[in-house]
Amino acid sequence: MAEVVLGIETSCDETSAAVLVGEPGRPELASLVILSQDVHKVFGGVVPELASRAHLAALPAVVDRALAEAGVGWGAVEAVAVTQGPGLVGALLVGVVYAKALAYARDRDLIGVHHMEGHLFAPAVEDSELAPPLVALLVSGGHTLLLDVPAWGRYRLLGQTRDDAAGEAFDKIAMLLGLGYPGGPAIERLARQGDPARFTFPRPMRDDGFDFSFSGLKTAVLHVARASEDLERDRPHLARAFQDAVLDVLVAKLERAVRLTGYRTAVLGGGVACNRTLAALAAARLTGLARVVVASPRLNADNAAMIARAGWFRLGRGERSDWTLDARADLPLPGLEPAAPQVPVPPSPPAP
């Protein structure tokens, strides 16, 4: 088992490298460097070709900095963990091929990591005691996943989005409200000034199974915004009502998943988990039911520390990727088992 793992993440618009150092069961974060690509802001979303070009230009310097901050030389790095997918395939390819070359150059172990498994492991970077069984709600710009995690590496899919991911909905509404990209932090900031009673939006599928749907909610916000006589005045209220609706749905399903499984731990992960209102709402609703675990914001954004941590787990199980490792935009989550039969669970009580 490697004791120094270099992680590399290039699935979207963050170029990131991290170093984990430690005993087999207890990796410690030695460094994490995240380079955000600002170029996409002027486009209101990520431009894949520009993201790929920027990764190629920046990645070696990002890795150098991660190694320097960790105080680790090339000779000490025993394995390389890299995001294999899902994500933007051109962006992923840069990280995967570069990582393969780094590993090949000195016969290091190589492991391709699923990006969402990385998000699941993010809190474990800071909390070495974190252990399944747990329920995980992983919400990002590309995914909304509700997982039953009986053990690390074993996942049962409880629910996922049928259309837009939660983070995507935040980005689109932010664009509608003229808040720029990325939308999550801007909406949360603006929502603090909003009156929760001014508008109310539907809670799509809130009490219906574990799947999510945010497309209709997005349309509802669009209609109200278009009908607004003073959008500038209404923007904070729209942001508040939209955020309240999304978070209510997310937390209602998380709570029901906790009640269904009986697990005492719930993990929030992914970029949307940077939303402090979400974390606070989840903690409040799950009081007495489960401990809510959320990583710090830089570990919930796309980052290489979570990839190194998930890679550390897989390497520890003896898994290795070979030199034919390829990027896959639609990489399936490893260890996904058929969902357990769902016992009907009473709907969650209304939000306090």
């Binding site: 520009l50 190629l56 070696p60 070359a101 780094l102 090949y104 150059a105 990027a327």
Partner: protein, 243 residues
């Protein structure tokens, strides 16, 4: 350049790797199919090194195909070269893919050679080169243009045209050169040409900071072109400096 050099080309549909020196190609291996370049590139490197009786730790330098070429293909070769060079602490030089193709055709038919890669929409990435034992004369530098434009600006009539762009405009280039165009399939894999060109004057692009360098893509990203046309100014710098 002294010591073992590894050449990597993934700019076209045929990926290749070669090991040796500018005087001697000790090994060259290739695989066809652009969609498999990322999966195959390290295996190709490993096979090329093994056939040369070497390992990665023996490398003294790298040469990689510069654009123009497939954007993704170029990045695969460059990411592999950067990873190897970064880890081993060695340098990278870049030779245009068009020049490598032209050298292959010159070895078969003679110099000068027009190299034409298909850039779609009726355009090609074109260049014209004359080859001498110790130097390369760049008669038309790589550019995005039509075959008619290349014919107009070329100072010489090439002996032959090579590449998928030449094949796509076979009649037009045939009239110009007086010879049927040659496809890349007919040539030795381009990595071998990269190796032979690495030390020739006028061939390699200097990369003062190879790890931060980018390939010559041949044209900007479509989104960038549209944005700059709409705003009348260059796109802001793509990345925020670290720290």
């Amino acid at each position: 350049m002294e010591g073992l050099i590894l050449a990597i080309d993934t700019a076209t549909d045929i990926a290749s790797a070669a090991a040796g020196s500018p005087r001697e190609v000790r090994s060259v291996v290739a695989a066809k199919g652009a969609r498999r370049h990322a999966a195959q590139i390290i295996t190709l490197v490993d096979r090329a090194l093994a056939a040369a009786g070497a390992r990665a730790r023996d490398l003294a330098a790298l040469v990689v195909a510069d654009g123009p070429g497939s954007f993704t293909g170029l990045r695969i070769g460059w990411a592999a070269a950067k990873g190897l060079a970064h880890e081993r602490g060695i340098g990278i030089s870049a030779v245009p893919s068009l020049m490598a193709a032209a050298l292959g055709a010159a070895e078969l038919i003679g110099s000068p050679v027009a190299a034409c890669f298909d850039a779609l929409r009726g355009q090609i990435y074109g260049a014209v080169y004359g080859f001498q034992p110790d130097k390369v004369d760049c008669l038309v530098a790589p550019a995005l243009l039509t075959v008619a434009e290349l014919v107009r600006i070329a100072p010489v009539r090439p002996r032959v045209a090579v590449g998928d762009g030449a094949l796509a405009h076979a009649e037009e280039v045939g009239r110009w050169t007086g010879a049927p165009p040659v496809g890349l399939d007919a040539l030795r894999p381009l990595a071998a040409s990269l190796l032979l060109l690495a030390a020739r004057a006028g061939a390699a692009r200097e990369l003062p900071d190879p790890l931060a360098a980018e390939p010559v893509y041949g044209r900007p990203a479509e989104a960038q072109v549209k944005w700059e046309a709409r705003h009348g100014r260059p796109l802001p710098d793509p990345s925020r400096p670290i720290g």
